[in-house]
Symmetry: C2
Subunit: 369 residues, 2 copies
């Protein structure tokens, strides 16, 4: 049996997504902006796909959606644009970003910090979420942007984004959220949220990796942020993937949660474990856990032999950040389900996980004798 | 009959390219950097594809290849990195770029020009190529980068890149060339060229649009330019497309040229025309021409009705730049062949082109009576 539980990093491309994209590689491959008739199919498909993308996050018509190559490009292009248009011009001098943002973002942050921009990094608390009170006290009249992901890619912690947006609103500070991990697992409405910038990516919603979205509420502030794309197949695939993500919302929020909870209950029966992020603060499809004395890599390797694929920490020290007992350092493994996950797969995973933990602990005891 | 002659803008995806990519969407979709066994196929395919990409341009092992989402990202990421690392740090203050670079690049140039960077735009001459002597006199000790495309996307003019590189070498100035339009139509060897940065894109070599390359001779100078990509299918497809482009080099340089020349001879028989760029300065698969009194859009529309798809000017005033008679303004149309172009298609195009020019001229005469 093969059980893929690394869906926060990459997902299987849905066959239907591939099917709608293929004609735009092999037949209607012209630029959609070409004047000739041949481009008409591409043009129609492109605008229909864009409509689906707008609809998927309830983006108003007057807002802008930039098609990017994925979350990293959406996020870094926004940071660079804020830097060029707001900071270099002397209007602002400060960016607030959560400790848990991606490596690509942190690299840009380092660069612009080296150029003299003031950066505040918001830490997470023992529940894995950003402290809202701390945000309040960190904002200054010179803050150009606050950027916090909606859901932590590893721990699955759901950030208090509503409150953070409202604080930013009160202080007149633009706020960006990377919603890559939340899309399809929570209802997404940029108007209800009233967020300024929002990022999405195809690669974790069963799309074709290589496209993403940067939603921009008002482009007046940041010119040159929108570029046109020639990647018609990619945009068509993204539209379909987002449509499917919306259709599968109920499944992800209820059925996937039930399966995840089944796995979670079984984990709670294993001695010496530490589950990250309380149930109530966590996205429905994710669980991250450490088992006392068992290196995460070793456990993942053992599970991999049984065809079960989870993930380990990306080297960013969740244990320290969340003030968990130091003995759980390097033990963390994560499991992220998707709408393709079945009960059979979870039952199998539970059995194999228990076996693996027991086997490794017995092996270690044997070695230490 | 359908005759697609817009291959400098986008190309049909080769069925074999699609075939090698598909399993990495539907089966081996894990991140290639995941620790578990499931990622092994992705990892092996990724590194094999990277080897093909290095081999396609004879990149030495110690050089770096960044996978991007296409030429625009390669080019703008380089410009931004030069700006951050060389100009903002005060080491340099000047960029030289040709008049014929892409809109995406020119937007970045405008931004960094607005921030105080000195920009020199190299014009093209009546042959459509950049003046080498002018480059010499424009370089200063504070020049951070020279950027000139290898082949003009519209006119097909082949720039004197060897001489330009040698001038840059003599002056210790880094040089970048966007080789997107040259790849597969000329032998590409970054070591022989001795270029510092080079751009490629999948979308004009029958690949899957959405990936590109930025070759970097020495990364010491520009840290943070390399990002890893998760888009395994894209990288695999790019490797295959580049391999095929090399295999088809002889065809593109000889057979496509013969077909283009056949079209060119037929065009020369039509009264009142202006072919852009002398034959010797032009890439083998391209011809751009204006017919006296005929708007380019109108001709393209007429040809489109017969199933023939060329291109018009991208609004960047080649006629003025190349000092062509003003009556040819807005008349330009281009035809770019590919390895899929057949003799039947070109014969058909010649017949329909003659008909269309005659028909439009007769219609115009009729109207003006």
């Amino acid at each position: 049996m093969k059980v893929y539980l690394d869906n926060n990093h990459k997902t299987m491309t849905d066959p239907q997504v591939l099917e709608v994209a293929t004609p735009f590689w092999t037949e209607h491959y012209s630029s959609h902006d070409a004047v000739y008739q041949h481009a008409k199919d591409a043009r129609v498909a492109y605008s229909q796909a864009l409509e689906k993308i707008y609809a998927s996050i309830h983006a108003p018509k007057e807002s802008q959606i930039a098609i990017t190559s994925g979350a990293d490009e959406s996020n870094t292009r926004l940071l660079n644009s804020i830097y060029l248009n707001k900071i270099l011009t002397g209007q602002k001098n400060h960016i607030i970003i959560s400790q848990r943002e991606s490596r690509a973002m942190m690299e840009v942050i380092e660069q612009i910090s080296a150029q003299g921009t003031h950066i505040s990094i918001l830490p997470i608390d023992s529940n894995g979420i950003v402290d809202v009170e701390l945000l309040k006290s960190t904002i200054t009249p010179k803050t150009a942007l606050v950027s916090v992901s909606m859901v932590d890619r590893e721990s699955g912690a759901v950030m208090p984004i509503d409150e953070m947006i409202s604080i930013c609103r009160d202080n007149g500070v633009p706020i960006h959220t990377d919603a890559t991990q939340a899309m399809g697992k929570a209802h997404m409405d940029v108007q209800m949220l009233d967020v300024d910038y929002l990022t999405l990516s195809a690669e974790v919603i069963h799309g074709i990796p290589g496209t993403g979205v940067l939603y921009i509420k008002d482009t007046n502030d940041l010119p040159n942020l929108i570029q046109t794309t020639n990647n018609i197949a990619g945009v068509v695939a993204l539209g379909k993937a987002l449509e499917q993500a919306i259709d599968a919302e109920a499944f992800e929020m209820e059925d996937a949660r039930e399966l995840r909870d089944e796995l979670e209950e079984a984990i709670r029966e294993i001695d010496g474990h530490q589950i990250l992020v309380p149930w109530t603060y966590r996205a429905p499809h994710t669980i991250m856990v450490g088992f006392d004395g068992i290196a995460g890599d070793m456990l993942l390797w053992e599970l991999g032999k049984a065809g079960i694929y989870g993930y380990t920490e990306d080297g960013r020290e969740l244990v320290d950040a969340m003030e968990i007992e130091p003995k759980y350092r390097h033990t963390l493994v994560g499991f992220a389900l998707s709408r393709y996950t079945t009960k059979e797969e979870i039952d199998y995973t539970i059995a194999k996980l228990k076996e693996a933990v027991e086997k490794i602990r017995t092996d270690i005891k044997g070695e230490s004798k």
